[in-house]
């Protein structure tokens, strides 16, 4: 959160200086005017989006998702894992440790990688933000186009590595898996 704030306000300060030298204070005011209008128009959408995010976080528990993942194998597991990834609430500091626990649960690599891609591509908690802040049409088109990605990735991993249980199945014998430190 702190890092995002630094990036945003740091970039903002730099851009305002650039804009001032390029077009003077009038263009800065024009930009601020656009920002205020967009903020005013988006406020209610943002409130609704955060209500949805909060409800989803309560509704979809980590335990329920874990149960789904252990139930299936093969292509069914790929589809379930991709969807479970999309439904899993929380940011990278929550879902990466969860995914890392797959190895202890003996879940194969193809489920792990499908889950990560499912989370990144579908992420249900991000959908209201995408629809409200960009546009519902763009959100729909983007989801339709990128929908097959986690499934293709899962199928490729299944074909290449079968049911190997590993975080990094491409490593040769003797090579270190950097993730080992976090599993001990």
């Amino acid at each position: 959160m702190k890092q995002s704030l630094i990036v945003i306000y740091g970039s903002l300060a730099i851009l305002i200086i650039i804009v001032y030298f390029v077009g003077g204070s009038a263009i800065i005011l024009e930009g601020l005017n656009i920002s205020i209008v967009t903020m005013y128009k988006s406020f209610l959408m943002l409130v609704a989006s955060f209500i949805i995010i909060g409800q989803l976080n309560v509704l979809l528990s980590k335990d329920a998702i874990e149960k789904w993942l252990q139930k299936f194998s093969g292509i069914k597991a790929i589809i379930v894992s991709a969807i479970a990834g999309g439904l899993f609430p929380g940011g990278p500091y929550i879902y990466y440790p969860f995914v890392l626990s797959f190895r202890e649960k003996k879940l194969p690599f193809y489920i792990l990688i499908t889950f990560i891609f499912g989370k990144q591509v579908y992420d249900l908690s991000r959908l209201p933000m995408e629809a409200s802040l960009v546009s519902p049409e763009i959100a729909l088109i983007r989801h339709l186009i990128t929908f097959p990605i986690p499934i293709i990735v899962g199928l490729l991993a299944l074909r290449l590595y079968g049911s190997t249980v590993s975080i990094n199945p491409t490593l040769k014998a003797g090579e270190n898996d950097d993730s080992d430190n976090y599993n001990s």
Binding site: M1, Q3, S4, L5, V7, I8, S11, L15, V19, V22, G23, I27, E30, G31, L32, N33, I34, S35, T38, M39, S42, L44, L46, A48, I51, I52, I53, G54, Q55, N57, V58, L59, G91, P92, P97, V99, L100, I113, Q120, M129, E130, A131, S132, V134, S135, P136, I138, I141, R142, I145, T146, I149, V153, I167, N168, T170, L171, D178, S179, Y182
Partner: protein, 164 residues
């Protein structure tokens, strides 16, 4: 925009009802959503201001040559790596995408920016390398790039053919 607000509000009400029947934790959900909203409000505010400034700063010729529909594959490549470089959370990222779209960027560019951010986003790198290691992160990154180009290309073709 009004239509989106109505749809999102209906979805929120439906979820509250489902939660009250299934878990009885609808108030906890509301509290969680409100807390998250308040916590991210400074980021959202900064992102909106940043997006407004970007909108007036991007020269029309740049959009026309590099990001518009006419820019074609250039827009897709630039969009993919631009999305990767926008190392920020969704609350900051989406208003910036909206401002690039308002400047006149093509659908292919917009879809590749979002896909680039979703799959390659640098903000995820510290977590990914921390939990899975550098090798995994680099391999995943290289493997994901063609998907971003492909998504942008499909959107570009859709814009040229169906969505004209």
């Amino acid at each position: 925009m009004t239509q989106t607000t109505i749809i999102l509000s209906i979805a929120a009400i439906i979820l509250i009802v489902i939660n009250s029947k299934k878990t009885g934790k609808q108030y906890e959900g509301l509290k969680l959503g409100l807390t998250q909203f308040l916590q991210t409000a400074p980021i959202i505010l900064g992102a909106f201001i940043l997006a407004g400034i970007i909108e007036v700063l991007i020269p029309r010729e740049f959009v026309q040559n590099w990001l518009s529909r006419e820019a074609g594959l250039k827009g897709i490549v630039l969009g993919t790596f631009g999305g990767m470089l926008l190392a920020m959370g969704p609350y900051a990222f989406y208003p910036i995408v909206a401002s690039i779209m308002a400047s006149g960027a093509g659908l292919g560019t917009i879809i590749s920016i979002i896909t680039g951010w979703v799959l390659l986003g640098l903000s995820k790198f510290p977590y990914e390398t921390g939990f899975f290691g550098v090798k995994f992160t680099v391999k995943k990154l290289i493997f994901s790039i063609p998907f971003c180009f492909l998504a942008g290309l499909i959107a570009y073709i859709l814009e040229l053919t169906i969505l004209t």
